[in-house]
Symmetry: none
Subunit: 306 residues, 3 copies
């Protein structure tokens, strides 16, 4: 009863369903096929037409061109030429495909499918790739769609929860080992922690040990934790610089004792200029590499001076 509406979904539509979705009569669809070769449906064993997603897309284009006033023959020619990528090999999950499928699954509140997609990606890619090519672009896109009002807050909430669980699953054991320690926290008031977790995973892949304090962490808390674990790096995250301003002074104090880094949108705005605070403006994986190189140099330097 619920998912009763169209969807770019894959899988071989019959003419009736395509007709309903595109608002074109079956007869006309057949005519376009015969006259202009607009679509190339495969046939069922019994001869029924089965339309691919590429066909669907061409029909959409055709309609659009017609609406623009083109003659049918011209519209068809244009739509055909648009060379829509024929459905790719379903086994070989391209990151972009994975991202789209993930978006689709999460939009429909279909948690199991989302998990299955992530499983498939992880089967052939590293965590870094998953983050760089799938999750982070998806999160970015989600943010954009949200600001454009194209997505409901419900979807955004749901997607966050699923991804948070998955990322924290990947994070299991990230405190282990003998690398340098990084303390990660969102600034007070900041609730968006997915980017920070992603950055933590990237650091982990570089060998760091992670102590993760989560969203909305008071600076006191941060200091307390830092005193106990003596981190080589403290990473803070905030989406807007509003989060930064109220605590600038406290952060300067902290920066005096620990290497501090700031990520998220706030960093891009230069909210914490100077003060020796590292600004993480690039993508998490690249920044994790950079930070690691710095730490290595520092260690080497430190040893030399000893």
């Amino acid at each position: 009863m619920l998912y009763n509406f169209p969807m770019t979904d894959d899988g071989g539509l019959r003419i009736g369903e395509l007709s309903r979705r595109a608002g074109i009569s079956p007869a006309l669809l057949r005519a376009w096929e015969r006259r202009y070769g607009l679509v190339h449906p495969t046939r069922s064993a019994g001869g029924l037409r089965l339309y691919s997603p590429a066909d669907v897309e061409r029909v959409r284009l055709m309609r659009q061109h017609l609406a623009e006033g083109l003659a049918a023959a011209e519209a068809a020619a244009l739509a055909s030429r648009a060379a829509v990528g024929e459905a790719a090999d379903p086994a070989a999950l391209h990151p972009a495909t994975a991202r789209d499928e993930l978006a689709d699954a999460l939009d429909r509140f279909d948690e199991p499918r989302a998990q299955a997609i992530l499983d498939r990606v992880l089967a052939v890619a590293t965590v870094d790739t998953l983050l760089t090519d799938v999750l982070l672009p998806y999160l970015h896109e989600l943010g954009e769609r949200w600001t454009r009002g194209e997505t409901s807050v419900a979807q955004e909430h749901f997607a966050s929860s699923v991804l948070r669980g998955r990322l924290l699953g990947l994070a299991r054991g990230w405190g282990q080992g003998l690398g340098p320690v990084a303390v990660l926290a969102c600034l007070p008031g900041e609730q968006h922690d997915l980017g920070l977790i992603a950055f933590g995973l990237a650091l982990r892949a570089q060998g760091w040990r992670i102590v993760y304090l989560g969203p909305d962490t008071p600076i006191d808390t941060l200091e307390d934790a830092s005193r106990r674990v003596e981190p080589s790096l403290v990473v803070l995250s905030a989406v807007t610089d509003e989060r930064v301003r109220p605590v600038v002074e406290q952060l300067r104090g902290l920066a005096a004792r620990y290497r501090l880094a700031l990520g998220g949108g706030a960093a891009a705005n230069g909210a914490l200029a100077a003060g020796g605070v590292l600004e993480l403006t690039g993508d998490p994986i690249a920044e994790a590499t950079r930070v690691t190189a710095l730490a290595r140099d520092a260690a080497a330097g430190g040893e030399e001076t000893e």
Copy 2:
């Protein structure tokens, strides 16, 4: 607490008594024994069946599985198998011990050790046990220590993040299946979601499908999601009734269309009296069972009227 009636102390129940307690006819009890080997009563000198507590438990499970709709043969197989695990290795990690060790590890920001402890508990116990005997008591204790100022916010933050990751890992796939759907969300402003996740897991163990929206969910969002998935139950969570008051009106509206339940500290305070809102004041596992029974009755009732 229970044995207030005829009892040949630990010698074992006779068939008549077991029949009365379990609500199963003696003939049927014998049939189950003969056909499925469900129970293994010892015999009195004169040949009467004497049932052990383990037998009683198996009969209870059998009844439960039957009520769930399983075929007798299947129900018996499950009940027998489950009871085997009952006699678990007592040497292996007592829940109370696990809780203390866990508390210690988390206090020290020692994530790997905490994970290892949880691994060990899960190796010998069910998820229900983990929740009931380890995690929920620990969370409760953490809360208490926090109000007494005995624990730093940093520890609480850190512990929450570790446990959240772990619980969400257990939750993977909880949207799968054919059971009724429950939508779970924290009220606006509420950030504590661990209890709610635990409740979701308990519901899942009862066969529900879960759509989880996470902390700090606006009521609009909740309505939006509910419209899409048409849940049989909407579960809200809030620690204090401060979260409830601002949205009471909106919740009444929601309650008109969906079965609503409220958990967390707010429920205990009767923050949402009347309005047909279920108040979840007990422990998550017990409440999940109760809610499930109610849903079953409702479904049965609905059918009768058809």
Copy 3:
């Protein structure tokens, strides 16, 4: 009669119950099975269909796709292809159960199911636990069965390649980062590398960077690689000491320049007594911890003496 309600897990539903839960008539369920092979129920002794949780999930997907407007044949194809992971079943995540299921899946050459089982374990446990409680015991058991002639070479090959792929998947990126470097290799003639890969993963979890040379590695190759990466540790593996004898002299030479460790069956036999070669006789995870502690001490010592 009344309990038409969903609820709880698996155990093999009969057609009536599945029909009630899914809202699909028994006749239709049989038709879907006959026409599209959508479900694969096992049969009771008497021939009644018993549906698995995976079947249940496929039926749900089928319904969903139908609601989206797909033709039945197409919907079924999609639902079947979806390679549903074993439905989240809290009972089945005990490591011992997982191991048995894994063994069963691999014995039947059922790769997707094996992967799903591994996914499920990883969802709730750490990699260390997966290795210690599932994979290594399974490999051990496989070895035993093989020596007893209870398993075919084909099965052993199949299982090895599936697990190798999976372990190497987990290993992805293990050369990255800033931990100490360990070079791993099987001795000349030795083909069994799964144990060594597992050990590599355990080391990685402790923060090491891994350079993996694979099975059947000539000592020259090993020396060459070592010269280039200057490892803090060189780990060799061999099942029997036959592999060790021919190269003892060369190894002594190597041991003079690098910290050497020997694992696998050969280690247990003391094949390389003395020479400062570490013998890894315990389980990989424990040994990885031990080796890491040694490395840490060495580093600390080295620093002090500088």
